[in-house]
């Protein structure tokens, strides 16, 4: 079992300041899954809270002020998107990593447009999840191969002229990076493959994330509104 520290007893140092492991809140309506994740993560993170529905999640997060929230997409009381909306309005500094079993494009795109900085599936290994958490807590974006695939799909359909060329199109380099992620490459491997630094890969992915969140491309809006998210 991971450690649950008393709420708020270590809020003086945050992870971003270089204060050790990231402080994490796990939000998922399956208790078994929460304890499973906590066990897998072990000492890699500091679990400072758990919640099983939207209302308690908002409360716990606002009280614990974690570096990062592991957020399930499907939650009773409005889903992960509702948590994002309510928390980010008052605490824009808190970062979210979405975690779901869902393969549906509208779920994935919806939660990322809602403000999550990454999306991984629940089949991810403990080590990879810990990596992803550190990365997102650091301010980077984390794309699973599937999310990369969805994004390529959404941005590749060239039926309509882009409304805002800067936001509605991916650069050649960004596409290249996404393609490698979709092929199952880790950031380090992508960097080696494209002869760029890991930092540059991260920059590209973050830029894609920004476009994904701000673009009004038809496909994105369609996916997002399919479930009345965003």
């Amino acid at each position: 079992m991971g450690r649950v520290r008393g709420v708020g007893d270590d809020s003086s140092t945050t992870f971003s300041d270089g204060g050790g492991v990231p402080r994490v809140v796990i939000v998922d309506d399956h208790r078994l899954f929460r304890s499973g994740v906590r066990g897998e993560l072990g000492d890699a993170v500091d679990v400072v809270g758990e919640a099983g529905d939207v209302d308690s999640a908002v409360q716990v997060i606002e009280r614990a002020q974690p570096d990062l929230v592991l957020l399930d997409v499907h939650l009773p009381g409005g889903g992960g998107v509702e948590v994002l909306r309510r928390v980010l309005a008052r605490n824009p500094q808190i970062r979210f990593l979405a975690l779901s079993v869902s393969d549906a494009a509208e779920d994935v795109i919806g939660v990322v447009r809602g403000g999550a900085r990454g999306y991984v599936t629940k089949t991810i290994s403990g080590r990879e999840l810990a990596d992803a958490i550190v990365r997102v807590a650091d301010g980077d974006a984390v794309f699973s191969p599937r999310l990369a695939g969805f994004v390529l799909d959404a941005f590749s359909a060239t039926d309509a002229p882009p409304v805002d060329p800067e936001l509605d199109r991916l650069t050649q380099r960004e596409r290249e990076v996404l393609r490698h992620i979709a092929r199952g490459y880790a950031y380090k491997e992508v960097a080696k493959e494209l002869f760029i630094s890991v930092k540059t890969v991260e920059t590209h992915v973050s830029s894609v994330l920004r476009k994904l969140q701000l673009s009004n491309r038809h496909e994105l809006s369609r996916w997002a509104t399919a479930r009345r998210l965003v």
């Binding site: 549906a104 191969p145 599937r146 695939g149 590749s156 979709a182 199952g184």
Partner: protein, 409 residues
């Protein structure tokens, strides 16, 4: 009667069927049904035409001639049990329809006797009135009404029909009265009747609206229940079954994992897959191939696909090569997961099969090992594509397949 025979039109064939006397859906000798099938029109039209021609006697003569000279339809559907089963209820003669035609013929005859010719306007007003009444009565048929109400287009059509029906009846009744020179006498009565009707309509309208709403709610509930039942059946058939199997095989972790993966895949495809043609486009085909390999070898394969297009010969070969690459990775890489990425671009289709496993020395593979050379490199070459294998001992393997797309017509 229109409705009863509406679904009797012969299955739409690509070319005009030969003129035969129909066995299926005949009323008398199958002449009208056969002719209708040959001409591609509703049998009712042909039957009414025969009836109209029969006024002068020609129709009967033509019918008898056709009956003798046109061969009966061969029983060529014998060997198609499915089609037979589907047509089972249409077999034989539809007595009620026959009765309707006889009644219609008798009625027409009676009218002619009464009015002494087609040109008496009184006859036409009677016909108008009857036609309108028939349309209105049809509206009252619950099955038909449901059909019309389901779509907005259908609803509009239904209203149009009802309007036409009312108009025909009114024209018929008033015309009849005018020509009988009864209208003057009837005016007082008409006013009274209309006032009464309006009053009744005012009273009844809210109740009818309520009924309609209730019925809509009921229908929605019915659909919801059907969905729920389908979901329950699905979960029962697949998920519960798998869970039982897993409990029984609890001592064999590999088998448990395999069962869980298979079930997960099935459930996912049931929940999330857009209902694309499972076998005819690249994306679902690639996923199916991966599922098969995974089931055979027990190594999870993650498939990501961008874009989609129909599978042609070249892409078929590509899918087989991809399968071979997945099998190789499952067998030799010694890794716990394999990534497959497919991308459909305007000019070509790319597939990458990647593992982070043992890797191997490509040059050290003996010439006679068919796996890589024959099934992957050779096959892609033969179909105009190309394959590249990137690997080194300890570095994992990536098989890159590339197939140009043949422009669609």
């Amino acid at each position: 009667m229109d409705k009863a025979s509406g679904d009797r039109v012969a299955p739409a064939a690509d070319e005009t069927p030969r003129l035969t006397r129909a066995i299926d859906g005949r009323l008398l000798g199958g002449v009208a049904a056969g002719l209708a099938r040959h001409l591609g029109v509703d049998p009712v039209v042909v039957r009414l035409a025969f009836m109209a021609l029969s006024v002068g006697g020609i129709g009967i003569a033509v019918y008898v001639a056709l009956f003798f000279f046109v061969p009966t339809e061969e029983a060529e559907r014998e060997d198609d049990p499915a089609a037979r089963a589907a047509d089972g209820r249409r077999k034989g003669r539809d007595i009620s329809q026959l009765v309707a035609y006889v009644g219609l013929a008798a009625g027409l005859g009676f009218l002619f006797l009464l009015f002494g010719g087609v040109f008496d306007p009184l006859l036409w007003f009677v016909v108008f009135g009857t036609l309108g009444a028939v349309i209105l009565w049809q509206q009252a048929n619950p099955g038909q009404r449901d059909e019309w109400m389901t779509s907005t287009v259908g609803r509009g059509k239904g209203l149009m029909r009802a309007g036409a029906g009312v108009l025909l009846v009114v024209v018929g009744v008033i015309g009849f009265l005018v020509f009988q020179e009864q209208l003057q006498n009837a005016r007082a009565g008409l006013t009274f009747a209309f006032t009464l009707l309006a009053g009744v309509a005012l009273i009844v309208a809210p109740w009818i609206v309520g009924l309609v709403r209730e019925r809509d709610a009921e229908r929605r509930e019915r659909i919801r229940n059907a969905e729920r039942a389908e979901l329950a059946a699905h979960i029962h058939d697949s998920v519960l079954h798998t869970l039982t199997l897993i409990q029984r095989r609890a001592e064999d972790p590999r088998e448990v994992q395999r069962l869980a993966r298979v079930q997960e895949r099935a459930l996912r495809s049931w929940l999330y897959q857009r209902p694309a043609d499972a076998e005819t486009t690249v994306s679902p085909a690639l996923e199916r191939v991966a599922a098969e390999v995974e089931e055979e070898h027990g190594i999870p394969i993650e498939v990501v696909c961008v874009g989609d297009c129909p599978v042609d010969d070249g892409l078929h070969a590509m899918l087989r090569s991809a399968r071979e690459a997945m099998v190789n990775a499952s067998k030799y890489a010694g890794t716990d997961t394999i990534s497959v990425f497919g991308e459909v671009e305007p000019e070509e289709v790319l597939v990458f099969v990647r593992d982070r496993g043992a890797g191997f020395d490509l040059d050290a593979i003996p010439e006679d090992r068919m796996g890589v050379r024959g099934s992957i490199l050779g096959r892609m070459d033969r179909h105009g594509g190309s394959a590249r294998i990137r690997t080194a001992p300890g570095e994992g393997t990536e098989v890159q397949l590339r197939m140009p797309r043949i422009p669609q017509m």
